[in-house]
Symmetry: C2
Subunit: 317 residues, 2 copies
């Protein structure tokens, strides 16, 4: 496992490592959205990645970076979201056990998806304390290796492969933007973008209701969100300690999106691009719309983080 | 305009004619659906076509097949669905007037879409009689040329270009399947499939609740549906007189789908393939599932007819 922030070289190793397991996702465009936003947008479709989200890249790279001896006892994470599925599938692909700690109130569909990949699920109270205590107990009993969803350099290197592929196919971008929760995707995106061209502006997109990365960058230190509420359920976590310095080094800024705008652009994208994206992915579209003066006339690469939306509970209905 | 059923040669002319105007849509796969259905499915994504449906191919070919002299007074159709938008955009692209007769109770979103393409809309009572009378009145006043949504050989040749492209990229298909309403798409699909390989089995997929093509083929004559009700709003029309003999000549059969199965597979495709398809497109998936013995182990090309679903009224909610 990397013990330093990933360099471009490490991202190339990650790309090689996950090539046989992860999808090289397509890049798409949407002329109706270009017209509306006055820019040229290129969408890296991680909603079409395995498990429906970019998370598989990082989990896969982390799991396959472990030595045989280190990983034979399995890997572990506490997560109720896309990382749980991603780690479960990565472990299954490598043929090692995965232990997933999930809050007992996690949606049934997510429990089922993780179980389908053969992970051993342990349920606990829905508090961070309970999740961490449960995880520690299982690590003590099994010797499993923790794979943190974002505060992990191999995970960051894996997430960086999405922007790497995007820039291979669209080398002339002026701007690259990705949503930011814990900052794994955004940190990786920034590393790949600036290895390609130091002049590319890298922006993070964040819900106004969960704007810890925005406030942390302004303050020069991590200021976690306190129980934020946003429709973008993938962006509730606060930025991680390994992620924050990378964001400080690379970002042109964080642009914010309101809840109503995120829902509006999520629906617009479904309607016009005919693609299912999750609210976290729509955050980038809404943040561009709400900060249009920064983006007008530019060629913008957008990492669509995922497509795991709950079709029984659509936010515009 | 063609005055005989299109041959492969006519389809190649249509493909050349619409090349600069229509999208060459991608072909996608969905391993979760392959696993569930026990077959290998290749989806021709006409949900990503202009106006969100295959209809643009036929309308575009018909409009551009007209002589300058014939079309300068414009084109006309009565339609509340995808053909209205398709014809409006095709006419706009050629720079001629489009007259669209719509029932007064058509959804606002459809009225707005047709108006956005610059068509002149005339509203009438929501009966076939009123629609036809209104259309005749406008033709008498303007000299506009009627472009029927399916009972038109140039339209059929245009719709045939979707399967032409599919088979160029997936030449080894055992089966090709498309939904059938008026039969423009299915007739065109059959012509292209058998020009490629006479051994390909061509199936139509039809809602059990609007099974006029199924019954007509059994009877050897057209038996229209009487006010059918199905979630697949694109498949309410009965098979056309120019379409029926082509279906008789080419089809291996019509396979039927229940309403609940269409809704189930529509949702499954959104969830797993992350693509928005309309109920008419899901008809093919549901019909394969309900007639699995015909399809198991085969390589199947599926024409996904479109993606114009009403996101405010999802059939599973």
């Amino acid at each position: 496992m990397l013990n330093h922030p990933p360099q471009h070289h490490d991202v190339l190793i990650a790309a090689e490592r996950i090539r046989a397991h992860a999808h090289r996702t397509p890049i798409t465009t949407c002329s109706a959205l270009d017209k509306r936003l006055g820019a040229s947008l290129f969408f890296k479709c991680e909603n079409l990645q395995k498990v429906g989200a970019f998370k598989f890249r990082g989990a896969c790279n982390a799991v396959f970076s472990l030595s045989d001896a280190l990983c034979e006892r399995g890997v572990i994470a506490h997560s109720s979201g896309n990382h749980a599925q991603a780690l479960a599938l990565a472990a299954k692909t490598r043929g090692i056990p995965a232990y997933i700690v999930m809050p007992s109130n996690a949606p049934e569909v997510k429990k089922a998806a993780v179980a389908e990949y053969g992970a051993q699920i342990t349920f606990c109270e829905p508090t961070l304390q309970a999740r961490e205590a449960t995880q520690e107990r299982i690590i003590a009993a099994t010797g499993a290796v923790e794979i943190h969803p974002y505060d992990n350099y191999e995970v960051i290197a894996g997430q960086a492969t999405a922007a790497l592929e995007l820039l291979e196919e669209c080398p002339e971008l002026d701007v690259v933007i990705a949503p930011v929760g814990g900052g794994g995707l955004l940190a990786g995106t920034a590393i790949s973008a600036h290895a390609h061209n130091a002049l590319i502006q890298v922006f993070g997109a964040e819900p106004r209701n969960a704007d810890d990365a925005y406030r942390s960058l302004r303050a020069g230190q991590i200021i976690p969100s306190d129980n934020p509420r946003t429709v973008a359920d993938g962006l509730l976590t606060s930025v991680g300690t390994r992620n924050f310095p990378i964001l400080q080094e690379h970002l042109a800024g964080i642009v914010l999106a309101s809840e109503s705008s995120m829902i509006e652009y999520m629906k617009f994208f479904w309607e016009r691009a005919k693609m299912v994206i999750e609210p976290s992915a729509a955050t980038a579209l809404a943040a561009i719309a709400e900060n249009q003066e920064l983006f007008v006339g530019k060629k913008i690469g957008v990492i669509l983080s995922g497509g795991n939306a709950d079709l029984n509970r659509l936010p515009w209905l």
